[in-house]
Assembly symmetry: C2
Homo-oligomer: 386 residues x 2
């Protein structure tokens, strides 16, 4: 169901929802067997006849599958539109690009806002707690459904990078190349702490109703907005905030001596909070942050990260940003050390930028060149024609 239009992108787009887990259920890390379940996804470009040109994009906490087309709720351009298309790093003339909404999400994949078939009511907090491993298993079942044995590449930033690592570790034969951007093999104490603040903000909102707000026709918008505001600060660097806003006042010449948004940075944050609640489900925020907190690849392999990648034949590209304090370069280097420890084929690039964690979503020429170059090299090794 291609939906090309005069205004649409210059490449084939499919927007679909797969119903999976009917015959074979999805066994979650918590022990629950989930099925059937839905996975909403988009694809760009065309799958090659020998099915060897697929790139899977794994999205971040608040991302979704609308990578290269306008978002159905906000109407905004896809979140990685500059990376995808003819001649762009993820070249749709060459690759078949897939992005699926994560399990637990709210954009077409089964999550806490959906109806639990067992009760006929929204899952709410009775939805099972999921992990990065569960998200990746659900994606693997989508690839089975699409008839793709091996991905040419799996790529993602932030929580997307966690999924990339999980993919390479859990399905080594299915991943030819892996690009892990601004991520880590385990969530740090500070990051767990920030996620916990966001969750507490949501759960403190009386409209959350113990997670059952969908049944009551309300939503914890104020709590979710606060969660987003706190998180958003961590996505930017102090330098970027200073450069963009400094102490500039918003729509006024002098301080108001009140609690309105005197400063541009306050106005910006409030906007980030209020626009986020229009497109995101509060319970999904709880579940997905929890999945990030639980992620610890070494712990799943006897405490030794290298064991997660034993005998790997995947080609890795690890990218970090100098001003990213949420997933600092140090954590990428730990990952590189572990990969070196198993003699993996690894490129590591630390990109100099003041844009912070979100640099992977922004116009950053050195980053684009890195992805383009790594993919070109990997494609050559994979024998993908121009």
């Amino acid at each position: 169901m291609d939906r090309e239009s005069p205004r649409g992108p210059a490449f084939p787009v499919a927007d679909a929802v797969a119903s999976l887990g009917r015959e074979r259920k999805l066994r979650l890390d918590c022990g629950v067997e989930l099925g059937p379940y839905a996975v909403g996804y988009q694809t760009y470009g065309r799958l090659a006849p020998d099915r060897n040109n697929a790139i899977l994009i794994c999205h971040a906490l608040t991302g979704d599958q609308y990578v290269a087309t306008d978002h159905p709720i906000t109407g905004k351009p896809g979140w990685w539109i500059d990376m995808i298309g003819p001649g762009r790093p993820l070249d749709t003339d060459r690759y078949f690009v897939i992005c699926a909404n994560v399990l637990g999400g709210c954009m077409g994949s089964t999550g806490p806002k959906d109806i639990d078939p067992a009760t006929g009511k929204p899952w709410g907090l009775s939805f099972p707690v999921i992990t990065i491993g569960d998200m990746v298993r659900a994606q693997a079942m989508l690839l089975d459904h699409l008839g793709i044995d091996q991905l040419f590449c799996v790529i993602g930033g932030s929580m997307g990078g966690m999924q990339v690592l999980q993919w390479a570790s859990a399905y080594p034969a299915r991943v030819f190349a892996a690009i892990c951007i601004a991520a880590s093999a385990r969530h740090s104490a500070q990051n767990i702490a920030f996620n916990e603040v966001g969750r507490q903000a949501i759960m403190a909102d009386p409209e959350w109703r113990g997670g059952d707000y969908h049944s009551h026709g309300v939503k914890p918008a104020a709590g979710l907005a606060v969660a987003r505001m706190a998180a958003h600060i961590t996505y930017l660097s102090e330098a970027a905030l200073h450069r963009k806003f400094g102490r500039n006042l918003q729509d006024r010449d002098q301080l108001s001596f009140g609690f309105e948004a005197d400063f541009q940075v306050e106005s910006y944050l409030r906007h980030q909070g209020s626009s986020f609640v229009e497109r995101f489900d509060a319970n999904s925020y709880l579940y997905i942050t929890r999945a990030m907190d639980y992620f610890d690849l070494a712990a799943e392999h006897g405490g030794v990260l290298a064991n997660a990648f034993k005998d790997t034949r995947t080609r890795y590209c690890i990218v970090s940003f100098t001003s990213d304090w949420l997933f600092p370069t140090r954590e990428s280097k730990e990952l590189v050390r572990a990969l070196n420890g198993v003699a993996a084929n690894v490129s590591f690039v630390e990109i100099e930028t003041d844009k912070g964690h979100d640099a992977f979503l922004l116009d950053e020429p050195q980053f684009e060149a890195t992805i383009r170059g790594f993919l070109a090299g990997a494609a050559e090794h994979r024998g993908l024609g121009r």
Copy 2:
């Protein structure tokens, strides 16, 4: 009203509330004339006959005057007990130490939870928005009341350090020495952003009731706890969080696959939030964070920070901590440059520690030695006998 007891400290303590602004009102930066108003304070040690041995401690955002005695609500030891007493850096055998609750606070100084004499009801949000300058003017009136013309030293960390700078700038003749710890001459965009998250968390709590919760006999405990949790993360370094908690689990051997506090860091943060609301007023949190946001000493002096200290004769000690990302060393250095620009007498010490912003409240031997040494040198110059 000394309240020494067998369990009490080994030095004279006075716990008092001054009623000020009866004859001469306090002119606030917002234009309001406030009076009468109360200032709650404690003193330790004895004022010398020539009144030249007074040290004023300025407390931080959530601090108060219970510096060296047990807190009347929590029962916990004073927040700087290790720094104050016979033989300690702020030696009570030698100095007369004063600490006053800031204007807008909730521990005895007039603030939004008090009764507005004009209406007979709690001020709530009709309390005037105050500034660091207003806090310092209120303290200056307290010194007038105590008959102290010149402070031997004014000292404080974080927002306390802002007050120290304001003191030295606004009352140059009244400050012999000034110790500014982990602070800045202006609040950064990132810090304004974190404060705004806290305020939005409070104001999102329906029990806040537009600031009028005291009239309704409720309080926005959930919102204030979230504000505290978010802020608390910024007081620690990532390294300290990792060292203290890492990914250790709380009271369990394995993940719960739920939203309880699985991790120690979550449990710790929740405790920080819930204990804070027992002792702090939510509206005070709004007003005091706003005062910090508004602080910009250069802006008040034609955009040139050095102008704030023109002709200063005060001896300065500026202290920063390597792992403090809320008030990074860079900002202390800007201050030192400005002071150097007016040929001020300045010592600058950056202390190597992984304890983050809160290092000034924790056992940090090099920090203690710095304060001790600077005060000893200043005392010699001031002609204070041993």
